[in-house]
Symmetry: C2
Subunit: 207 residues, 2 copies
Amino acid sequence: MQHRVDHEQRRRKLVDALWRLAETRGLDGVGMREIAKEAGVSLGQLQHYFSGKEELLLVALTQNGERAGARVRQRLQDLGGRATPYRIIRTSLQEMLPLDRESRAGLLVHLAYLSRAVHDDQLRAITKDATTPLAALFADQLRRAAEDGDLAADRNPETEAGLLICLAEGLTNYVLLDVYTAEVAQSMLDDYLATLFTPAARSGHDQ
Amino acid sequence: MQHRVDHEQRRRKLVDALWRLAETRGLDGVGMREIAKEAGVSLGQLQHYFSGKEELLLVALTQNGERAGARVRQRLQDLGGRATPYRIIRTSLQEMLPLDRESRAGLLVHLAYLSRAVHDDQLRAITKDATTPLAALFADQLRRAAEDGDLAADRNPETEAGLLICLAEGLTNYVLLDVYTAEVAQSMLDDYLATLFTPAARSGHDQ
């Protein structure tokens, strides 16, 4: 048992090194040697736990998804009875933007993975698997809003769900590239939601 | 003079090797050695022309911008007298998506550059420099549409210009990751434009 705990702790320490590299210098061109150095272990020790950079990236991506999911769940729980479609969608989208250090680091891992995934079937499947339930959640909430008369009349819930996800992805790129500040991105998102939901659906909500 | 032509031809051949690598296996983890091999020259010969991968990427990015700009200009010229704000914006956005092999290759170079640019001031400035005039063009056209009563009443031209660029960027990522086909992305973009422009502004236009 003790042995198992040690193993998990060691793996965590190595993945943490990858996270730090993602934040500080980016993962492009970073090999196993640099990751081992950052973690303060030998290349052989690193390779004992992870077959290569791909496996480390996969673990980091999975962790990222779990952390982001936990953050969204916590924030939705905080909403309690005030969890309207508008609030649920706004809260989820905000968590997709690099608005704080943790989400920024997560999105840098995502970015490093992006350029690899284009040429790797297995990696590419991860985004698809993550996007489908998110798009379904958004579409559900938008349908609920439409039933309550809270959605702008000309919008289709399924299409809007996909557009919102793409918009958050694009905004994220531009925040990471310093084209927009996090505040501007957040306000652009709010401007968009203001055309998507009726004023009544947004009234009394934290802007 | 002959010498100068040879020099330019050689540089072009080396950049072409980078383009091929971007298309076939991606640029992540690709070093000068692989680029030299792809171009069929020695590492020393490659280094004679380019100081490193960053410089090659910069040249490829500049070429990419020039090619994309030329494609848009050609398509806008083809529109001739039919160049309404709706058509100008739709045409430009379509050219930002990976709808054919050339634009896909260009966007793969963009993606490779993206994860580097986050940690590199000089590279980051390029996106900013490219985004500002594009956002200004879109805002101009949207203002023109608003004056003609062709823009949905609740939209702000400046905000919409930025949102459209982010949307195209996000859609591009999802097409490159096979979450959406090029056709679906194009139709999502059209759905978006259908809520942005009045039906009158779009009527009689190629859908």
